[in-house]
Structure formats: structure tokens, C-alpha cells
């Protein structure tokens, strides 16, 4: 692709939240007025912000959240297949994050505790088991355990400034190099 073609074609970006809280997507929106610049620089493909439910060929994929069920794994593999550059955004994607607190517990036991018998629950309580519901994984996994990840952007969530610095570098075709102040883990 020469320079003229590159200028013609906007990079396509896909985003998804797996077993996360949406906070990383909130931090993306926290770039505020810079959103309008971003809208001019890229096209959004599949994302919680669009109704495009199937990933097309994309330049960048941003993945928030880890893997807590079988469906998360399918979606992550789809993102790897369609995105040239795949980024693990935030604590949950990178190491499982808070949802991985359940890894010390037995998932069957947790389900039973929450759905079968507790104060405030009707007597007929039962663990959901319909075929419509994807199987929970025994443990919550970081996404790099399943597919190759090109970049890791830490933070809970990464700040809007960190996301902006990272994205603008990618869009410009540079390798992202974030200042120390932009790298945080809380």
C-alpha cells in the first residue's frame, strides 16, 4: 500500500468486552472531544458502540476482559482471525482481573450458592442450565493464554490519555511507546 492509498483508506477498529466490566470502553469514551478526531481517523467495525455484530477484516482489535466462559473463547478467536493487530486492554484481559478472584473457588459450588438457596430466594431456586447458556469455564483466564497478543495496555482501566496515546501511535503506523506516567496498574 503506498502513501496515497493509505491516506484514502481509514484503518478499521473492532472492540469487544469479554469478561470485564466495560470500564475500559468507558475510558476510551473518556477521550471526550478527541472522539470526534478519532471518528475522522478510523472506521469502527464490530464494537458495543455499533450494530455490526460480526467482525470484518480489521487493522486493530481492542479486547477488554478475560475469558470466563466458552463463548468468550469463540469471540476472542474470531477477533484474532480478523484483526491484524490485537491488543489486550486492561487488567482483566491481561491477567483475568477481579473476575479471576473466583479461581480459588469451585464454580459448581458458587453457582449452587447463588442460585439454589440463600435468604431472599424463592424455594424453587435452581442453577440455570439451559442449552442457550454457554458453559462457564472452571477458571477465568487471561486472553494471551489462548491467542497471540501483540500489545498489552495495563490499567484498571487504562486512562483515557494512555488509550489516546496508544491509538494515535498505532493509527500513525508507529510502535506505541507510552511515557512511564501513562502506565498504571490500578
Amino acid at each position: 500500500m503506498n502513501e496515497a492509498e493509505r491516506a484514502q483508506r481509514k484503518p478499521r477498529v473492532a472492540t469487544v468486552s469479554l469478561a470485564g466490566c466495560f470500564g475500559c470502553h468507558m475510558s476510551l469514551l473518556d477521550i471526550d472531544e478527541r472522539l470526534f478526531t478519532l471518528f475522522n481517523l478510523v472506521e469502527f467495525d464490530r464494537s458495543p458502540l455499533t450494530d455490526l455484530k460480526h467482525c470484518g477484516a480489521c487493522d486493530f482489535g481492542l479486547v477488554e476482559g478475560g475469558l470466563c466462559n466458552s463463548e468468550n473463547v469463540l469471540v476472542l478467536r474470531e477477533f484474532r482471525a480478523y484483526c491484524k493487530v490485537l491488543v489486550a486492554v486492561g487488567a482483566c484481559a491481561i491477567n483475568g482481573g477481579l473476575p479471576a478472584q473466583r479461581n480459588a473457588l469451585d464454580v459448581g459450588h458458587i453457582l449452587s450458592e447463588i442460585y439454589r438457596a440463600r435468604p431472599g430466594l424463592a424455594a424453587s431456586g435452581a442453577v440455570p442450565n439451559d442449552p442457550e447458556l454457554p458453559l462457564p469455564l472452571a477458571q477465568v483466564h487471561p486472553i494471551h493464554e489462548v491467542v497471540h497478543i501483540d500489545y498489552f495496555l495495563p490499567g484498571c482501566p487504562p486512562s483515557a490519555d494512555a488509550i489516546w496515546a496508544f491509538l494515535t501511535a498505532l493509527i500513525a503506523g508507529r510502535k506505541p511507546q507510552l511515557d512511564h506516567a501513562l502506565i498504571r496498574f490500578d
Partner: protein, 498 residues
């Protein structure tokens, strides 16, 4: 791409249509419809398909960690969980009252949260449906499309949300997952500079909030048949209200009205919520179904959130929002699902009025931050914290052991209260729009529009998120795939016979 198919017991003759995932909502859900041979809808369900188990793994954590941990339930309304947990732990520790500075800082943080969340939901997620039409071009039907076609509206939405997020940053320390509220109070004041920076923006923000209410009112006026009837049904309503019945989104007592507006229950202490509400489970969703114990599962379900609160309160204690509320309710009780948007914008205006008033309070700038622990430790350390989160009534309930670790926890999040109602909306819309017609992208979006009106936070409700591409498989009575409908990235619909 991954393909998900399901088989059904081949009796009676039905076929299944799946919408997966719901988009422009927070979290992961899907809808299934079962159709008979004449394409009449026999069953319509909203499924919440993920599970995280916060109530289990919070057990064993020190109580002072809890207000920070539970924010990770949801990145859109972390402040609601932060504050509901803080309030519950205050009660459990036997703290009767927090200092005035802590009260006004927490309230400011909460109303900032209401503002940013309502702005996000209306402008970033829902306005494309309302401005462009439910079956408009899928590549335009998003905030990027709004920014191109209606740049002023998109800009106001982004800046209203920014203001709310800045209120949160200054009171909580961070825009998402802050640390400002602690058991017994808060850990910071506002600086003079922060207060002045926010106060300077008040007139502009108030004006934009009023314009947002006008925008929704205009949309209703342009198509009353749609806005009054789409996904509409009667229900009970629940929220907290101030002791005198006024709207208060931070604290109060529980009130329930029936569909005709009669008060069924009033003044209920939130500590007694388990006497008022019970939850049922269903095999096909991870989200529970709460209902009023007194009325039972069939008749006792209710709706929460902006449409409930605007009607449940006796008045809104801020003049501009109350004027808008009077106008909104001029024809009596409102049951229309799309009216949630109008009520939400009235609340956003109210939140901005409250913020304007709180910013004049000198207690933000100085004074004691926390209350001391009582000298006598309570025999049983248990507490319930309730708050009106952006999406509705949020319950956090903890028991703290002698070792200072949480020994039990129960959460009922806002969206869970609307579970039955969202399923009703799906059924009503499926009945009114779907029966006998061919599946199309626009038709599928009608169902999503109905769900979106509730601003569901499926992450809160399931404590997890995820997504799948949209593919609808029609499966015949014998379990064979009859037809496959694919919604492509560019919005094209492709049908293929099996």
C-alpha cells in the same frame, strides 16, 4: 466465524430465532423467539448468558476493600456500587451518621454519576435509533453516524458526559473505579480550584440538559403513536423516595405504586428489603426475577429506573426538572417503554440542578471527612445499602465477621429488577411487529430498541460480559437447520437455505 446452533425437542412444531448479541447495551444478552408454523410467536425470552459470582468471592475479603472491589461489577456505574457498598458497611459498623462533608461529597459524586450515565445512554447508545429510525441503515445507526448528521447533538452528549465524569474524578479520584468513598465517610475534599472549574460550567450544562429534554419531547410529538404504544404494558413501580416522598437518588425509603398510580407500599426501611422482595430463578438465564412477596411472582413484579422514579415520587425537589415532570405526566400514569428516555432526560436535568446546588456548599471544601467507629462494637455487624443507581434501585447487603472479613453478601442490582419487564417488552414487540413476517435486520433491531430503553446493565446483572456475532438460525421441528440469516459487518442481510 463461529456458528452456534441449538436443537430442541421436536414437539410441538416450533422453530427458533436467535438474536445474538444485543448491541448498544452494556453487557451481554441474547433473545430467542420460538415460532409456530404460521410464524406466530409462541415464546420470547431475553437470556443473560454470563456469570461471575461476585457474591461468593467477596466473602473473605476485609470490609474496607469492598467499596473499591465491587466497582468492578460495572464500569458504567461504578460509583453506584462504590456508594451502595459504603452505605451498607457504614450501617454494619454501627456508624449512625457520617459528617456533613462526607454526605455532600458522596451526593455530588452520585449525581455526577447519574449525569454521565444518562448522557452516555441517551446520546452514545440510544439516540441513533430515535434520530434515524429503528430500521435505518445499520452502518449509520451509531454515535459516529450521529456525529456526522447531527454534530451539535453529538457534541452536547459528549460534553455532558464529560462534565459528569469530571465531577466523579474530582470527588472519587478517578473517572472509572475511584477510591473517594470509604467506610464512615470520604477521603478527600474538593479544592477551591476544582469547585470553581465545575461551577463555571453550570449554566451551559443546565441549558444543554434542558435542550435534551426538549429533544425527546419533540421526538414524541412527531410520532405519538409510536412513542405511546411501542412495547407498552402496565406494571407496578418501585424506587426509593425521600421520607417526604420527594425524589432522592442517594438515600431514602422504599415506595411501590401499582399500575394506576396507587401507593401499595410506602416508607419501608431499606434494611427490611428481604421482607418486601423475593427472587425467583429460571433455568434459561443467569439473571434472577425479583417480585413483591405480598403479591407473588405472577402479580408482584415491577419496573425500576427513571420511568419508575419520575412517577413514584410525589415531586422533584428542583424547579426546572419538576416543571418538566408535570408536563410529562399531564395525561396521567405513563407505561410506554420508550417514555424511559424522556424520564431519563428529566432526571439528567434534575441531577444537574442538584450538582449546581451542591457546588455552593462550603462543606465540600473543608470539615471532618469520616465518622469514628463507635466505641461499642455491634453484636452483629450487618448492613444494607440502597441507592438509586442510574438504572434503578441497587441493593448491597453485607455481614462482617469478628475477624473484619465479609462473611456473607447479597446483591440485587438495578437491571435485575427490570428482568420481567424487559422480557414483557420483548414479547409485546415480537407480538406487534414480528408475527408472520420475514426476519430482517430492522425487525431484529425493534426488539433491541425495546430492551435498550431500559438502559440494561447486563454486566451488573450477571457480573460478566461477552459477545457473539449476529446470526439467526431457523431450526425446524425435527431439529434440522431450515434457514440461516447473517447480518454482515456492512449491514447486509444474507439468507441461505440449509
Amino acid at each position: 466465524m463461529p456458528v452456534t446452533t441449538f436443537t430442541e425437542t421436536p414437539c410441538p412444531p416450533v422453530r427458533r430465532v436467535v438474536i445474538d448479541p444485543l448491541s448498544r447495551v452494556e453487557g451481554h444478552g441474547k433473545v430467542t423467539l420460538l415460532l409456530d408454523e404460521h410464524n406466530r410467536v409462541q415464546q420470547a425470552r431475553l437470556h443473560i448468558v454470563e456469570f461471575r459470582g461476585f457474591e461468593s468471592f467477596i466473602v473473605g475479603r476485609p470490609y474496607w476493600e469492598v467499596p473499591v472491589m465491587v466497582q468492578r461489577l460495572c464500569g458504567i456505574c461504578p460509583v453506584s456500587h462504590h456508594l451502595a457498598a459504603s452505605k451498607a458497611i457504614d450501617v454494619a459498623l454501627g456508624i449512625q451518621a457520617i459528617p456533613r462533608t462526607a454526605e455532600v461529597m458522596r451526593r455530588l459524586m452520585h449525581y455526577g454519576q447519574i449525569m454521565q450515565s444518562h448522557a452516555l445512554h441517551f446520546f452514545h447508545l440510544s439516540s441513533p435509533d430515535l434520530l434515524f429510525g429503528f430500521d435505518s441503515n445499520v452502518t449509520q445507526r451509531n454515535i459516529m453516524g450521529v456525529a456526522a448528521a447531527h454534530p451539535d447533538i453529538a457534541r452536547q452528549g459528549v460534553l455532558l458526559r464529560k462534565f459528569g465524569q469530571e465531577v466523579i474524578r474530582m470527588t472519587a479520584g478517578k473517572r472509572v473505579h475511584g477510591t473517594g468513598s470509604v467506610p464512615g465517610g470520604v477521603n478527600r475534599h474538593l479544592t477551591h480550584a476544582e469547585r470553581d472549574e465545575l461551577a463555571a460550567q453550570v449554566p451551559q450544562m443546565l441549558a444543554w440538559c434542558e435542550q435534551a429534554v426538549e429533544l425527546v419531547a419533540t421526538l414524541h410529538a412527531q410520532n405519538p403513536a409510536l412513542y405511546d404504544h411501542f412495547g407498552s404494558f402496565r406494571s407496578n413501580w418501585m424506587s426509593i423516595v425521600r421520607a417526604d416522598g420527594a425524589m432522592d437518588l442517594y438515600d431514602g425509603v422504599l415506595r411501590v405504586r401499582d399500575a394506576d398510580g396507587r401507593i401499595l407500599q410506602d416508607g419501608t426501611n431499606v434494611q427490611d428489603y428481604l421482607g418486601l422482595i423475593e427472587e425467583a430463578t429460571e433455568a434459561w438465564t443467569y439473571m434472577k426475577f425479583p417480585y413483591l412477596r405480598a403479591l407473588g411472582r405472577e402479580g408482584g413484579w415491577y419496573r425500576v429506573g427513571p420511568l419508575a422514579r419520575v412517577q413514584n415520587c410525589s415531586h422533584i425537589p428542583s424547579p426546572r426538572a419538576e416543571t418538566q415532570r408535570q408536563r410529562f405526566l399531564i395525561r396521567g400514569p405513563v407505561h410506554a417503554t420508550l417514555a424511559y428516555h424522556w424520564a431519563r432526560m428529566i432526571e439528567m436535568l434534575h441531577a444537574m440542578e442538584v450538582i449546581a446546588e451542591l457546588l455552593q456548599d462550603e462543606a465540600l471544601l473543608g470539615g471532618a471527612l469520616t465518622a469514628p467507629l463507635p466505641l461499642q462494637r455491634p453484636a452483629r455487624r450487618e448492613g444494607v445499602g440502597v441507592i438509586e443507581a442510574p438504572r434503578g434501585t441497587l441493593f448491597h447487603h453485607y455481614v462482617i465477621g469478628d475477624d473484619d472479613l465479609v462473611s456473607w453478601c447479597n446483591l440485587i442490582v438495578s437491571t435485575t429488577h427490570n428482568n420481567q419487564a424487559m422480557n414483557e417488552s420483548v414479547r409485546v414487540v415480537a407480538r406487534d411487529y414480528f408475527d408472520g413476517r420475514a426476519v430482517s435486520e430492522g425487525l431484529l433491531n425493534h426488539i433491541e430498541v425495546a430492551i435498550r430503553a431500559y438502559d440494561p446493565c447486563l454486566s451488573c446483572a450477571t457480573h460478566a460480559l461477552g459477545s457473539m456475532p449476529l446470526q439467526v438460525n431457523l431450526i425446524g421441528a425435527d431439529g434440522q437447520l431450515l434457514e440461516r440469516v447473517l447480518r454482515h459487518g456492512d449491514g447486509r442481510i444474507e439468507r441461505s437455505a440449509a
